[in-house]
Symmetry: C2
DNA sequence: ACCAAATGAGACGTCGATGTCTCATCACGG
DNA sequence: CCGTGATGAGACATCGACGTCTCATTTGGT
C-alpha cells in the first residue's frame, strides 16, 4: 500500500550521509522495504539522488522562508536560518559532497536561487554596517555550507552535542573564535 | 623509468578532489600514465586512497611543524597554520569527505595525532584568555577542517580568489562575520 | 650498440551493483 | 468472502570497473 516516499527519502538521506557509497540494497533495507519496491518508487540510483536533491532544495527554501531573512538585524536572521535549517543539515551535508550533481553544467537552478538568497542576507548585513566587508558574501555563503556540513558530521560522530549545533555554528560564523570584551 | 610516484599522487588528488568517483583509468590518464603502470605502483584503488591518506597526513604534520603552533599568540599560530596548510587543502578536502576511510573502526592514528595537536592549539588560546571558551576545541578543530574544505572548493569553483584563501579562512575562523570597532 | 628495466596498449576473466522480471503473499476494500 | 493492488523474495541478464596477464616498444645505463 502506498508506501510513504518521504520516509524512504529520509532514511536514504540518513544512510547516505554516513555512507555515501551505500548500495541500493542497503538503502532499501535502511528504509525497511525491499529492493524491488525501492525500484518501483525510484527508477534508479540516479533518480533517488535527484529526489534527495529536490527534497534538500525544498527544505532549504522552507527554512529560508521560515527564517524571514529580510526582517530585523542580519545577525539574528542568520541565527534563525541556522536554527531552521538544522533538521536538514545532514541531508545538506550529503548533497554538498555529492559533487556528481554538479558535473554536468546543468547545475540545478534551485541551488542558485538559494545561494542568492543567502548571499543577499550577508550583503544586507554588510550594507547595514553589521557585517565586515572584507569577507565577500559568496565566501560567507560557502562558509555557512561548510560549517553546516562540519556540524552535522561532528554531531553524528559524537564530537559535538546535538543541542549545541546551532550555537556552535552561529557563534563561530558571526563572532569567530577570538574572545572579545563586549557584546 | 622510475616514475615519480609523488606526481601521480598529486594528479590523483587534484582529480579526485573534483570527482571523487573517478575511475582508475581516469586517474591514470590524469597522471599521464597508463592504467597498467598505475597498477604497478599502487596495488589497487584502495591502496591508492591509502597512499593519498598518508600523503595528506605527512603534509599536515609538516604544516603543523612549520607553523610552530606553540610559539607566540595562538591567533597568529592559527594564521601560520592555515598559510602552511593551504597547498594541501585540496587533498584534505578530498580526504575529509572520503568517509570510507573511517568506516572500519581502524581510524588512521595519524589523524588522531593531528586532531590532538590542533585541538591543543585552541586549548592553549583559551587558557591564555585569547579564545572564547564557549566553543569547544573539538568543534573549533572540526570547523577548521570544514572551512579548509569549503575554501578549497570555493577556490576551485572560482567563487573565491586563490590569493584570498588564507585571509578568508583565518579572518572568519578567528574574527567572525560581525563587524567590530576595536582590535 | 646492447641489455635490462620500465612503460603502453590491450586482452582477458572476475565481481559487485544495477535494473528487470516473475511469482507468491499480504492488505485492504467492495 | 473474494478480488485488486501493492509488496517481498528471489532469479536473471547486463554492465562497468577492477585486477591480472601478455607482448611489443621505449627508455636509460653500461
Amino acid at each position: 500500500m502506498a508506501l510513504d516516499p518521504d520516509h524512504v527519502l529520509r532514511s536514504a538521506a540518513a544512510l547516505l550521509t554516513r555512507k555515501s557509497t551505500a548500495t541500493m540494497d542497503e538503502v532499501a533495507k535502511a528504509a525497511g522495504i525491499s529492493r524491488a519496491t525501492l525500484h518501483r518508487h525510484f527508477a534508479g540510483r540516479d533518480a533517488l539522488v535527484r529526489a534527495l536533491e529536490s527534497l534538500g532544495i525544498e527544505e532549504c527554501e522552507a527554512a529560508l522562508d521560515a527564517a524571514r531573512l529580510d526582517e530585523g538585524p542580519a545577525g539574528e536572521a542568520v541565527h534563525r536560518l541556522v536554527r531552521e535549517i538544522e533538521p536538514a543539515a545532514g541531508l545538506l551535508a550529503f548533497l554538498y559532497t555529492e559533487n556528481q550533481l554538479f558535473e554536468g553544467e546543468e547545475q540545478n537552478q534551485g541551488w542558485t536561487r538559494i545561494d542568492e538568497r543567502i548571499a543577499a542576507l550577508f550583503r544586507r548585513g554588510q550594507a547595514a554596517g553589521e557585517f565586515r566587508i572584507d569577507l565577500t558574501p559568496a565566501w560567507l555563503t560557502e562558509a555557512l555550507y561548510g560549517l553546516l556540513a562540519s556540524g552535522a558530521w561532528a554531531v553524528s560522530e559524537g564530537r559535538v552535542a546535538p543541542k549545541d549545533f546551532t550555537h556552535m555554528i552561529v557563534e563561530l560564523l558571526l563572532g569567530g573564535a577570538l574572545r572579545r570584551q563586549e557584546p
